[in-house]
């Protein structure tokens, strides 16, 4: 009987340990249109926020509307007189047979049909975890810090585990940020600013400094879970 218990205990511990193990990004899903971030963000140097236009204003980063896409791919699509039915692909006239040309044609077809593009979701948090994009963007973090080198990806996959431990690690200052990010965060983080303000006001803030000296943001449960 003792044995049973010890074995069970070990099993549980092993299980728990397993849950701490490394996260494997794996292969990203196929999208309705083979959209290459590497071409748009990489080669053509388009800013992330051009398409993900609400990342600095909203909790959601925002998915570009079809009109945003055709704005580049279909000439004059912005004009009020424009009739989607006659939409034609803008460029290039060369290599009509190239793969991406065919993909871009799909886009035009969506536009003609006036249908939204059913992108497959990659990054997803459970509903009970609230993640405001704009706070993290405005505090100076690069999109790549969490989403990985998207500008080099043809098919996007989920780089970070997005597990709670992963969030906490960064909030506690454990995750390494680029020097520039780090300095920005130190100036802008509302948490750091608040603690400084309170210290300046002569309050006892040793709690923070003692427990996590280089904490970047709050790890209070209620900040993300409500």
């Amino acid at each position: 009987m003792t044995r049973v218990h010890t074995i069970a205990g070990m099993a549980l511990l092993a299980l728990a340990a397993a849950s701490c193990n490394q996260y494997d990004p794996g292969e990203g899903p196929d999208q309705p249109i083979a959209f290459y971030h590497s071409v748009h963000a990489g080669t053509n140097q388009i800013q992330c926020m051009y398409c993900h236009y609400t990342a600095d204003r909203s909790v959601d980063a925002g998915i570009p509307s079809v009109s945003t896409c055709v704005g580049c791919h279909v000439p004059g699509s912005g004009a009020p007189s424009h009739v989607p039915a006659q939409a034609v692909l803008a460029f290039p006239t060369a290599q009509r047979d190239s793969v991406w040309h065919a993909e871009a044609q799909k886009l035009v077809d969506f536009w003609k049909r006036g249908e939204p593009i059913p992108w497959v979701r990659i990054h997803k948090l459970p509903e009970h975890a609230k993640f405001p994009h704009f706070v993290h963007v405005n505090v100076g973090l690069q999109c790549q810090t969490c989403h990985g080198p998207v500008q080099e990806m043809e098919k996007v996959n989920q780089q970070a585990s997005l597990r709670m431990g992963w969030c906490i690690e960064c909030h506690r200052g454990g995750t390494r940020l680029s020097a520039q990010e780090d300095s920005l965060v130190k100036q802008r983080s509302s948490f750091i600013r608040r603690v400084q303000a309170l210290r300046a006001a002569g309050n006892d803030v040793r709690g923070v400094t003692a427990t996590r000296p280089n904490q970047r943001a709050s790890t209070d449960c209620f900040v993300c879970h409500y």
Partner: protein, 483 residues
């Protein structure tokens, strides 16, 4: 008193006068393990089906939600917690008899402690189900254990419920260990007498190759002593911790300092009662009169009377304090217990636990197995109601009058309650059939050893101090035996 003077050759034990030789014990123990009758199979089938019922009910809780129970706001705890406390309590008598009485060298424990201890293990095993059954999201139960996880979250060690988790798991582990260690020599005995090859194989494994050598005995006896020494404070602590689940809260009727001793006494009361409830049928069916003698029943009766008095005192004191403190909420709750919707439960608890056991003062009652059995069953029922009365009316009638609302159990809860009994007795029946129910080796301790020259030892005279050959079991002084 020194019986050897009258009959020097045939020496008899004060406790088991009808058992003459060591081998007899083995024979009787083996008798329990032999082929069972129809009754046994029927009982086993019944218990298993009750377990099935519990499983079905619990599935309802898991699939549809705890709403299937009668629980509500404000009564968040009901039959599940009541039954949890009940079973934890039952467990206590076993450890009391096997460990505490061992330390006190009470020789009458030997023949009954194996049953009692088995009862303990299975009762705790039953109780351990309920914390899981009663929570809203059982699939997350492991969050209560201090396991490392990527979240970096730990349980709250300030919560009485966590104390509970530690206390109950510790208790389950330690009592199981204690149970098994005590079994080893007897399993060896069973191994040596087993005829069925399968049984022989299993016993051989379980006996861990025990042969009863001097080395084994030497360490065994000490280890057993220390285990007993550890189990003793543990058993007292476990029900104290369980009582703190309530006492540490601020609910009127729960927030009481006497809870720990009060609960421990109650636990022993219910536990001893359950021992009797189990002993009497076993006694009858396997006719173990040789081992369960009137002496044993008297001793158990003493325990029942004592604890029943303590419990009765606690009841009185609760009401006295409620009145004497002048505390509004306290008074309301206790008034509600005896006049509210569950007044009958309140009164039955007082009658069954504090009054009925007093009949055991009468010799004719406690020597009459049927009467004793009846009383023990009544006490068990009463003790279940005690926990119910403590839990439900207090919650239904606490600070906030707007939420005075009572609780009514549903078929799901009733099924789980029944199922828990099925679960407990299922294990006990299996135990009876497959493990030595009589502690073969330890009973021999209170039997007179086989002696060729009871009156003395010529050969050893010149070897200095001659060993006085006593009829008394080694380790016990005369006074103790005569008690």
């Amino acid at each position: 008193m020194a019986t050897e003077t009258e009959t020097p050759t045939v020496v008899r034990s004060t406790f088991h006068p009808e058992v003459e030789r060591y081998e007899e014990v083995n024979r009787d123990a083996d008798r329990l393990l032999t082929k069972p009758g129809r009754g046994y199979t029927a009982l086993l089938a019944l218990t298993v089906s009750l377990v099935g019922l519990m499983v079905i009910a619990e599935l309802h809780n898991i699939v549809f939600g705890l709403g299937m129970s009668g629980l509500t706001n404000p009564v968040g705890w009901g039959v599940y917690i009541t039954t949890f406390v009940f079973w934890v309590g039952i467990g206590h008598a076993g450890t009391l008899i096997s460990a505490i009485l061992y330390l006190f060298r009470a020789p009458w424990r030997q023949s009954i402690y194996r049953f009692a201890e088995a009862m303990t293990v299975f009762a705790v095993l039953t109780a351990a189900l309920f914390p899981i059954i009663h929570i809203g999201r059982p699939w997350f139960f492991y969050w209560l254990l201090p396991l490392p996880s990527q979240r970096g979250l730990w349980p709250n060690f300030r919560s009485p419920l966590l104390w509970d988790v530690f206390a109950v798991t510790t208790y389950l582990t330690v009592s199981s260990v204690f149970f098994y260690i005590g079994l080893i020599p007897d399993i060896a005995a069973a191994r040596d007498s087993a005829t069925h090859p399968m049984r022989k194989k299993v016993y051989t494994i379980l006996a861990l190759g025990w042969k009863g050598t001097d080395r084994e005995w030497r360490h065994f006896t000490r280890a057993y002593l220390y285990l007993a020494a550890l189990a003793t404070p543990l058993v007292l602590s476990v029900h104290s911790v369980v009582s703190w689940d309530f006492a540490v809260s601020i609910v009127p009727g729960w927030h009481t300092t006497i809870f720990a001793p009060y609960f421990v006494a109650g636990a022993i009361l219910s536990g001893v009662a359950m021992v009797v409830t189990i002993m009497v049928p076993v006694h009858r069916i396997f006719n173990l009169g040789k081992y369960f003698t009137p002496v044993h029943y008297d001793r158990l009766a003493n325990l029942l009377i004592l604890t029943s008095c303590i419990v009765g005192y606690a009841y009185g004191m609760e009401y006295f304090m409620a009145w004497y403190s002048g505390e509004l909420y306290e008074r309301d709750v206790f008034w509600d217990r005896v006049t509210g919707e569950y007044w009958w439960a309140g009164w039955s608890m007082i009658t069954f636990n504090a009054i009925i056991p007093q009949f055991l003062w009468i010799k004719r009652v406690r020597r009459n197995l049927n009467a004793f059995f009846l009383i023990s069953v009544i006490v068990n029922i009463g003790m279940w109601w005690e926990r119910f009365v403590i839990i439900v009316p207090s919650l239904a009638h606490s600070y906030e009058p707007w939420k005075f609302l009572n609780y009514h159990l549903t078929w799901v809860e009733a099924s789980v309650l029944l199922g828990s009994f099925g679960w407990f007795f299922m294990w006990f029946l299996l135990f009876l059939r497959y493990l030595p129910g009589l502690s073969i080796a330890e009973i021999k301790e209170v039997l007179p050893p086989p002696l060729k020259h009871p009156e003395g030892h010529p050969a050893t005279v010149e070897e200095g101090s001659p060993t006085p050959v006593a009829t008394l079991p080694s380790g016990y002084t005369e006074r103790e035996v005569v008690v």
